[in-house]
Symmetry: C2
Subunit: 380 residues, 2 copies
């Protein structure tokens, strides 16, 4: 592997940073909808997005930021002064931050089928007057990209300086570079490969079947308990064994219950599951995980040949991986980088030594390593 | 790490091997039962065991073999000539095999709470006349060892030449060496550490909660679907990402169903889940996984200090790990070996380079590497 490590880069200092402050989500409607990859037309359609920074008059400073499975358009700042938490990537978005709002105009669009405002299985199906739920059409990562494209088109933005995303957001960033090569100048793909592995499919299958079992036996309440369990499993897959040792070890809880919670790690998982239930939806989860499974750029753009698909790329690309990520291990990204390099494309791979697993790009402790890797790439 | 690799050992040839042939399970009753670590007395008690080879007149050739979570006493040979499959470790038990029945007398005892004949949650609770189910008392690995001890006592066997086990069987082998140091001459611990990690606890928690959710919403049928899903998750944890790529890649099935099975790996998991359901029980699964979680030799024998616990060991010990085992990674075994070595105990660690994950010790392709590691240890 010619992957670079971050030791050389980590020396860069974290310069003074500011906050984006109060932000207001925008809503955009497409009454005609879009044609999905499954052949169905989804209409009407709405999308929610947020922007940070100021669009340059020549539109040369656009960063399209793609959120992950459980994220949304709210990437930075707060909606209200008393919001307990800022947006999901506030660590990296703002004046002086990795995505520097003094220079860049950042737009983050909530993905199709996500429960955070864009049309989803929770939206009203015009043919029934009821929420779509399982009548929502199947979607793929390509449909996510198409939704982002029509939003940008509607805003009159043709050229993207950089598309940036992690996890399923990294899938979208990667697909943008392949699908619309002439529109993307740089693409930064964090913790996402060119195709989902059978391990990802297997983990997602169990999560979906748990939700569907709950739905079958317990209706919506059962589906919600299923979603909690699915999230617990997903959460484990975002962490690593060393991270679990470090956070919980074998510590027990004060009032152990034999069949529910005896150990701290169990208590933590139940807590994570229940907070997720407050903010997510089982039907959306089913659709989004299936979109992940079906992600395969070689299949979609190269008739099964990833090399052929990647010949389309024109963007300068950087891939970032984390050593302890067992959901999307560095080897998957390295495969893509080596193909790009062998095609003479400008692409590199930065492997960050982190014990925090797949979620490292969201973990504050990793920021000193990750920030310079992003900032250097965006500003060079 | 001073762990040895198998390259030097693998040159040993696989000599001519024979089969143990038809075997008959034995049954032994303990009407008075035993006192469990939880303080309850479990009575009456029955245990099922099998033996292979011939007991030496001086009883110097006894190998106690400890099965894993889903195994039983039937480790080798067949019960009937037309059995489709032999016992679970037939690869390694027989004339000329790693556990050579020309030399050794091997005994394998079905563990407490396992559904294969020994007293379990499926047995009749004398206080109700109904199966115990969730009224079965909590058990620990220590109770498994105690059941094995009373069986050996009843058979008049005091001294064990070698105790051998993998996974939860490895936990028992390790605990034997700590609990009864004067009775164990050698202990071979395969893919098992001195304590379960929070990753193991987390995975087991999700599996148990899935079974319990099924039970709550769908009764026994729901618990059984829950068991299928639990097994699928466990099965993933026994494999590795490279193994899944190699076996399934992203292959799809001919008649895909969007919400059930689209990919081969999903079909495989459903198949594995349904065959497991034919041969296992959700209640037994709950108890056995909780026993795994609670395994911690430092806690049980050293007041939290593993070093203090391991001072008890007198046996010559060998630990075997597999590079791709992410359920019980080699680092866990290495920790134990280094403590034993620092105490001047004869212990070594063989790390086998295998892509087949935790289950490598059951995989035929790993036999050329594993057989000499076992045979050398047992025959030296």
């Amino acid at each position: 592997m010619d992957a670079r490590t971050t030791h050389a880069l980590a020396a860069e200092t974290l310069t003074a940073e500011g906050e984006v402050g109060i932000v207001t989500p925008q809503r955009i409607a497409f009454p005609e909808g879009i044609d999905l990859t499954c052949g169905q037309r989804l209409a009407p359609l709405e999308a929610v997005y947020e922007t940070y920074g100021t669009l340059a008059p020549d539109q040369s400073n656009v960063i399209l930021l793609c959120h992950a499975l459980s994220g949304g358009a709210h990437a930075a700042g707060r909606h209200h002064p008393d919001d307990r938490k800022p947006g999901w990537w506030d660590l990296y978005i703002g004046p002086g931050k990795a995505l520097d709002t003094n220079r860049f105009y950042i737009i983050c669009i909530n993905a199709l089928a996500s429960p955070y405002g864009t049309t989803s299985p929770l939206s009203i199906d015009p043919s029934s007057g009821q929420p779509y739920h399982l009548n929502f059409p199947p979607i793929k990562v390509t449909d996510w990209v198409e939704l982002e494209r029509i939003v940008l088109d509607a805003l009159g933005i043709q050229r993207i300086y950089a598309v940036v995303g992690g996890s399923t957001g990294g899938m979208r960033a990667f697909e943008w570079a392949v699908r619309y090569p002439e529109r993307v100048q740089k693409a930064l793909v964090i913790a996402a490969p060119a195709r989902s592995s059978p391990m990802v499919i297997a983990l997602n299958h169990i999560q979906r079947q748990t939700i569907l079992m709950g739905l079958e036996y317990g209706g919506v309440e059962g589906a919600e308990r299923g979603l909690m369990l699915a999230r617990m499993l997903a959460h484990i897959s975002y962490l690593s064994e060393p991270a679990l040792w470090s956070k919980f070890g074998r510590d027990t809880v004060p009032e152990a219950e034999f069949w529910s919670v005896t150990y701290q790690v169990e208590s933590y998982l139940e807590y994570k599951g229940s907070t997720f239930l407050q903010r997510f939806d089982p039907f959306c989860y089913l659709y989004i995980t299936r979109a992940m499974d079906n992600f395969d750029l070689g299949y979609t753009y190269g008739e099964g040949d990833l090399r052929r698909a990647l010949m389309r790329v024109q963007a300068r690309m950087r891939f970032v991986s984390f050593t302890s990520d067992w959901l999307f291990p560095p080897a998957g990204q390295q495969e893509a980088v080596e193909i790009l390099q062998s095609l003479g494309k400008p692409a590199d791979h930065v492997v960050i030594d982190s014990p925090w697993g797949h979620d490292s790009f969201l973990v504050e402790r990793v920021k000193p390593q990750l920030k310079p890797v992003i900032k250097e790439f965006l500003e060079e």
